[in-house]
Amino acid sequence: MEKTGRTMLAKIWDQHVIARLSEDTDLLHIDRHLLHDLGGSRGLLDLKSRGLKVHNPELTFATPDHALSTAPGRAGTSKIGMELLAALRVETAASGITLFDVDQPGQGIVHVIGPELGLSLPGATIVCGDSHTCTHGGLGALAFGIGSSELTHVLATQALIQKRPKTLRARFEGKLPLGVTAKDMILALIGQIGAAGGTGYAVEYAGSAIRELPIEGRLTICNLSIELGAKMGMVAPDEKTFEFLRGRPYAPQGEMWDLAVKAWRELPSDPDAVFDREVVIDVEKIIPQVTWGISPEHVVGVDGVIPDPKAVDDPARRAAIETALEYMGLQGGAPIAGTPVDWVFIGSCTNSRLSDLRAAAEVARGRKVAAGVRAWVVPGSENVKREAVAEGLDKIFIEAGFEWREPGCSMCLAANGEVVAPGQRSVSTSNRNFVGRQGPRARTHLASPASAAASAIAGAIADVRMMGR
């Protein structure tokens, strides 16, 4: 048999095999384990109840993000949220796990702080009890979300039993048009292959448009892998990756840095590597995307129309569109732009990094949030917040009528009392427009930070390209 090249997935995977358990299932070493307030203390308590200790506390890092209020002073964190925070403090301290606590540099959304601190590295296996762990793949890591049982398994053993996924390469080719962002690229892919298009696959994002993207854009792309059905998504590391990581607190330094970079240069898929599935996306055809329904695959270009169920022959698809439109309170066949909005949320592990806030501020500067719209900006981490303040982004937002908040998950998942009211419509830079995701009966439209800011100003879903900047 002719020998073909190896994919990046295969290279990283093989470096982590502790034991081969069957033809396609291995016991993998886990290099980084991130804990958060919703599931972290539960896992540590579960371990304790089994009479076990954390196998490698020095490879485990924790921060509160999910259940914490993002109001100034953290006012309004629920009693149970405070209990979870207290438990996380006690249990991480007892186990020798580093905790990045509230108001400290390092605190933030787990998927923002991992890359920011240099904890997330190319070629590393990274897990967290959160499905958006795929985000870290933007640095060339093999990163994926796990449930509570697997979380306990990793705490106890620093290893995980995993079945090798199939490989899908999504090549984004061409030059990104003005006003179109990483968020629009990945939403367009989800629209093209569907919310289950990546199920069972590890996705490698490649192509000229991915190479052109700065690291934060690659993190956004990888973040939505799970909305494609893929629990892992990754981008090959390159010079941009190395420059991004150089000098970060937990990144290797000195001679160790050189050694690491040498190894990281070997990680990209070989030119003759064969993938189980290939998809090519012409990015020059992408326009700013916005979702209209209750799955991220329910997405259109902002100049497009909401699908009309009457025009769909397949009964299952027609019923799905009708269900979505009923929930969203929308009419099939109407243009999506101009739909009035009540809320705008700029934040989440998808789009709360400095470049996201800059993009939104660029649109907001010198303008005003429309009357009747509530607009929040929630930086992804304490460090992002401080950098944004140092640049004066907070002032731009506040002057424009946005509320400037403390770092955390906030309104992305509504685990912290921060919700969109029933029946209200939100444009959100987060990752899920699921039924009730932003609060019971809340209606969510996913979009990029620039599109969200434009919609806040317009008071309706807006095409940022018409805003003249």
């Binding site: 020798g96 106890a156 289950a196």
Partner: protein, 216 residues
């Protein structure tokens, strides 16, 4: 530790909408707190099961007889997509669900099922659709049988369908194996891997910091 699963004959409820995500299976606020397990059964499918005023939605299948007693779900494509919350599986389990048959599941939800002794069965969409039609033809009275050992499903119409399952996962379910205990038996191998890896990839490994308090 998961309870073993071998055979099940039970009422099955078809929930055929595509892309039922784990937020729909269990809302996040029901999962905030370390004491939520055991309280989740009544909140499974909360947004579908209850009306805005908190009363039961009579149209939702699990609120109707005989589906109220269902131990098997027959599901549309991509069931359990979305969040990694294992509470989705816990809530279904606490609601009495022991097996889920569908044409595809969210990857993390699928793995979480096995961790809890719930059997997720993947069969072709045509088989799922036929099963749902057979169940509805008996208005839910006809039971569905699943035999994990034999890897077969029998529809209320008597039609028998084979299914594929990863042999490791099948064995784990049949015996109710605990993965943590199994992996801990390999602790010497884990340590050997880490020792070698400290030389191969020293930048991955940090010094252990002493615990501020020992949890002896």
């Amino acid at each position: 530790m998961p309870k073993p699963f071998d055979k099940l004959t039970a009422t099955a409820a078809p929930i055929m909408r595509a892309n039922i995500d784990t937020d729909v299976i269990i809302r996040i606020e029901r999962l905030v707190g370390n004491g939520v397990r055991g309280t989740l059964g009544k909140w499974a499918f909360g947004s579908l099961r209850y009306l805005a005023d908190g009363s039961e939605n009579p149209d939702f299948i699990l609120n109707r007889e005989p589906y109220r007693e269902a131990e098997i779900l027959v599901t549309g494509p991509n069931f359990g997509c979305g969040s990694s919350r294992e509470g989705a599986v816990w809530s279904l389990q606490e609601r009495g669900i022991r097996a889920i048959i569908g044409s595809g599941f969210g990857d993390i939800f699928f793995a979480n099922c096995f961790q809890n002794g719930i059997l997720p069965v993947i069969v072709d969409k045509a088989v799922v659709d036929q099963l749902a039609a057979d169940i509805e033809a008996t208005q839910g009275a006809g039971k569905v049988s699943i035999d994990l050992e034999a890897q077969t499903i029998v529809s209320p119409s008597g039609a028998r369908h084979a299914f594929e399952i990863d042999p490791r996962r099948r064995e784990g379910l049949l015996k109710g194996l605990d993965e943590v205990a199994l992996t801990l038996q390999r602790d010497l191998e884990i340590h050997a891997f880490q020792d070698a890896d400290r030389t191969a990839r020293p930048w991955i490994h940090f010094q252990k910091t002493p615990a501020s308090r020992t949890s002896a």
